[in-house]
Each structure stands twice: as structure tokens, then as C-alpha cells.
Symmetry: C2
Subunit: 310 residues, 2 copies
């Protein structure tokens, strides 16, 4: 029975000013999915490990199987695929857990079937999984998890995914506090419309962050890492957010904001050493706010999802 | 009596998706201003040539003198400066006429006083002139007129002006139809707020245009040159807009939109030859729509305002 195991990494979406358009991949944590050719048709879900029984085992609701179903329909594939999901990352953490499972499942299945599609062509199927997971087919986690690097979703209709080169020394510190924020809850608190001055301020930052990354202008990256639109509302769901962000900035981060819809908080830093120091400061502030938490210190992962074994 | 003559170029503001944040300078047309040291204090306006008597001769209302007044107050300069404005560009054309007069006046006066300020430091005084001219202290014409090149206003508070490098072969075609649109009228028709999906679509384009320019990705520049927010309303003030824009795109422009608030229409092109061809097609469409018009074919002017004689 042919089988392929693939890994897809956690991701930071939004990246302060880039709601629904920016995301980047981390080196770890990530999910692994094993895809096997089995008799019959369609997608079955053999097991989900590491989720403490919390994820849906119904193939119509689990993001790994939803994504692969969409892909098989597109390919008009009439064989059967069985998936086994190994969750190695926290749920509802703001680190793109649902996206990583979908991306790993797609890359494993694509390899199993002889690579009929490119990584870029897999993005829409992973978006379908996001629609099931949180109600919105956003691409700012799934695209970087599949492709790696820092990704711009220039347009959703038609889908236009653009890779943005980043300075080699750019590192990320993450503080994941031991609480959960469901993405669908976090999307419910966001505004329905914004004023023109708010919009102008935000597109200034979006252009500034893009230019800062492409020209390795760290000061410009830092000045552009602001979200005056969604962060104020969403941060209310994360106790201690202000003090943890403040700790990141005071210990040398270029900028800091919620990762996706939180509760994880990311900070971009000029070097690995600074990111390590920033992560420690964020963890200390988290503990001071009365929460346990864990840190991640990672470069920007340029590979994205990979086949590990076949 | 010491005197300095300076030239400041026309500019294209907004650049489709970049309302209030993007602008670039053209090689021509532009305004010239002569600044002279005279006895007494403050700014006087000796003459305005080429405006057919339409611009205010009150120094408190003309953008050249308003800008220089703000500068002299900042410098606590207690001498007198007399200005003579040579308007060489059409009024209410969407090409930054008020900005060019202010920029030329500032650069001439700054040179007259021994260059106490950098070009970048002159921007806020020119913005004061824009406030008088159209009610809003926007910087997307004055900054490129002073600094040259393609400019991002990342933030207005605090003011943060960032130069964006552009591909060397990038050229611009302009069609200036023989009608006028007052900037303050054009600002009145714009929306007060926008939906989140509209905002997301626009910040995708803002990031895409920035990335396209910095990586010389002409296709990405073209895909990003869209304004779904303001153009539909503002285009109603410009008869024939749709057919002129269509002519530009069909004859090979990367993208096309209103220059500032119109009535001029710009098109960015990959080469000088394409820009010449596109300009001809736009003019033909303008005539077909029953209007006279003139064309400009220009590279992106990297110099900005310059002293021509002192």
C-alpha cells in the first residue's frame, strides 16, 4: 500500500497591517499527514493523533480531508485516499493549525498521485478547508504553509499569490499564551467597515512593510508593523496583550502584533539573537499577567510544506 | 537684489490604488518660480504669469506664497521674500499644478536663504499650501514634486515619506482632456467609509504595486493598478473616461487610472515606445468622445524640483 508522509509548518497571518493579505511560514511547529492509496473512492480519515480527541473525525469537517476531497474532485480522481493526521501544534493558537493540516494533507496526496499539481495550484483546495474551519476561505495561512516564505495575497478574485523576498537575517519570536481564541469568534468581533482615514493609514503601512522587506530596511519594517483597525478589538480577547507587546518592543523587536487572530503574539526581529531575547521578555510578561505560555524562535521558513517520507 | 529661479514638475498622485499615499513626478510640464530677497518682512507676490488671471494674487491664498510663508515662520526668518510665479501647466488638470508652484517656490526660497533645509524638510510647508488650495493637506503631489521619483507617504502623523525605486524603463503616458475638475469637488464625491472586503482588495493592490515596482515585475504592476474605491465615483466627472482608459489598456499600457482626481488620465507603460503609442490611442479616444486634449509622454522624473538659475 503506497503511502507518503508530509510536513507543513505553522504560519503567522495578517502580520499587523496585512489583514487577509500577508502571511509567513515558521520553521516549527507543524503538522504531519500520511496519505495512503486505498481501495474504493474518496477520502477517509483513519486517525487524528495529538489533538486529544478535539478535532472532528468526520471527513467532511476535518480540514485535512476537506482539502484533499476538493483536490480529488478537481482531478476527477476515482481512487481512494486514506489520511492519518499527526497534530503537533496547539489548536486555536493563531498559528495556522487548521491550515497546516490541510497543507500537509494536500502535499502528501499530491506526491502520492505523482505530483499532478504545483504547490501554487494546491492553494485553492486548502482555502476550501479554511472555509469549513472558520467560515471564511482566507489564504493568508494556507499559502505560506504550502509555499513557504512571506506571501502576499494580492487578490482573492482571481486568486493572485505573490512571494515577497525577505531579509535573510529576519527572525520571528512568538509567545503562545496558554489560552485559546477561536478564529470564527475573532472574526466576529471585527468591524464591518472602516473610515477613509483609517484605510489610508493602513495602506501606507501595507506598502511600507512590503518596501521594507524587499529593500531590507529594518527601520521601515518596524515603522510599518501597525494595525490600528483590527488589533484594538481582537486584543481584548487576549489578556495581557498590551504588556506582552510592550515587552517585545522594549527588548528590541522591530514590531509586534497578534499572530492571525491570536492569542499568539509575534514579533519580528533583525537577528536570531534579538528574537531569542525578545521571546524571553514576552514570556516573562505573559507570566506576570498570570498565564502560562510557550515561545517559538524561528527564521522565516522558505521551504513551506515538504514530503518527508514516501 | 539676489534672486533664484527654480522649476518643479507636474506629478501623478494616487496612482490607482494609492489614494493619498502614492505619487510620482513627470519630466514636464512644470512651474517656475523666481524668489527675490527684498526689503521688509514676509512674503509678497510680485506677479503670476501664464494663469490668465485665474489664480489668487493674494499672498494668503496663492500656494507659492502660502508655502513660503509657512517656511519663513518655521525658520523665524525676518527678511522679505518676493515671488514671481510662471505657470507653465494647466490648472485643475489633476497633474499637481498647485503642488508644483508651492514646490518651486520653496526650492527657490531655500536656495535664496543658503539651503537651510533639505528637500524632505520642505514637504510639510508645501502640504500647508495644499490645505489652502483644496482643503486637505495631502502630500502625494508635493512630495514627488519636491523629491522626484515614485514616493510613498507611509504615514501622515508623523509624516513619513519613503522613496520607492522604479524600473528604469518605466514610462508614463498622460491624456489631459480639455476640461477641468476642481480637486475640492473631486474630494467631495468620495465615500466616507468603505467595507472590509473593499479595503482588503485595495491593500492587496497597494502591496502588489510596491512589490512590482521594486522587483521590476511589470505584469504585477499591471495587475495591481486598480482602484475599485474612488475611481468609479470620480470618473463620473470625466466624460469619456471609460473609453480613454480602455484605449490605453488595449494599446498595451500596464494599467491606467485617473491622475490625482482627474480629469487627466495616466497610463504606465513598459517602455518609452509603448508610452508614445498608448498616448496616441488615448488622444484618439478623447477626440472620439468629443473633447480636445493633449498628451504627455514622460519617464519617471527622478530629480524633482531643481534650481535653474541663481
Amino acid at each position: 500500500m503506497k503511502s507518503v508522509r508530509a510536513y507543513a509548518p505553522a504560519t503567522v497571518a495578517n502580520v499587523a497591517c496585512g489583514f487577509d493579505i500577508f502571511g509567513f511560514a515558521l520553521d516549527y511547529p507543524g503538522d504531519e499527514v500520511i496519505a495512503r492509496s486505498v481501495p474504493g473512492r474518496g477520502v477517509s480519515l483513519k486517525a487524528v493523533h495529538g489533538d486529544h480527541g478535539r478535532l472532528p473525525s468526520d471527513p467532511g469537517k476535518n480540514t485535512a480531508s476537506v482539502a484533499v476531497s476538493a483536490m480529488l474532485r478537481h482531478l476527477k480522481h476515482d481512487g481512494g485516499v486514506e489520511l492519518e493526521v499527526h497534530k503537533n501544534m496547539p489548536l486555536a493558537s493563531g498559528l495556522g493549525s487548521s491550515a497546516a493540516s490541510a497543507a500537509a494533507a494536500l502535499v502528501a496526496t499530491n506526491s502520492l498521485l505523482g505530483e499532478p499539481l504545483s504547490r501554487r495550484e494546491l492553494v485553492p483546495f486548502a482555502m476550501e478547508a479554511e472555509r469549513v474551519a472558520c467560515g471564511t476561505a482566507h489564504a493568508d495561512n494556507v499559502a505560506p504553509s504550502l509555499l513557504g516564505g512571506f506571501v502576499l495575497i494580492r487578490s482573492y478574485d482571481p486568486l493572485d499569490v505573490v512571494s515577497i523576498a525577505v531579509p535573510g537575517s529576519l527572525w520571528c519570536a512568538i509567545l503562545h499564551p496558554d489560552i485559546e481564541v477561536r478564529t470564527d469568534d475573532a472574526r466576529r468581533v471585527i468591524k464591518k467597515s472602516i473610515s477613509i482615514p483609517q484605510a489610508v493609514a493602513n495602506w501606507g503601512n501595507v506598502a511600507g512593510l512590503t518596501a521594507g522587506l524587499l529593500t531590507s530596511d529594518f527601520a521601515l519594517i518596524g515603522r510599518s508593523l501597525h494595525d490600528g483597525i483590527f488589533e484594538p478589538d481582537r486584543a481584548l480577547l487576549v489578556p495581557g496583550f498590551d504588556s506582552i507587546k510592550q515587552a517585545a518592543l522594549e527588548s528590541g523587536a522591530l514590531g509586534s502584533s497578534l499572530s492571525g487572530s491570536g492569542p499568539s503574539i509575534f514579533a519580528l526581529c533583525e537577528t536570531k539573537e534579538k528574537a531569542s531575547h525578545v521571546a524571553e521578555s514576552m514570556l516573562a510578561a505573559c507570566k506576570k499577567a498570570g498565564m502560562r505560555g510557550e515561545t517559538i524562535v524561528s527564521s522565516i521558513n522558505l521551504q513551506g510544506a515538504v514530503v518527508r517520507e514516501s
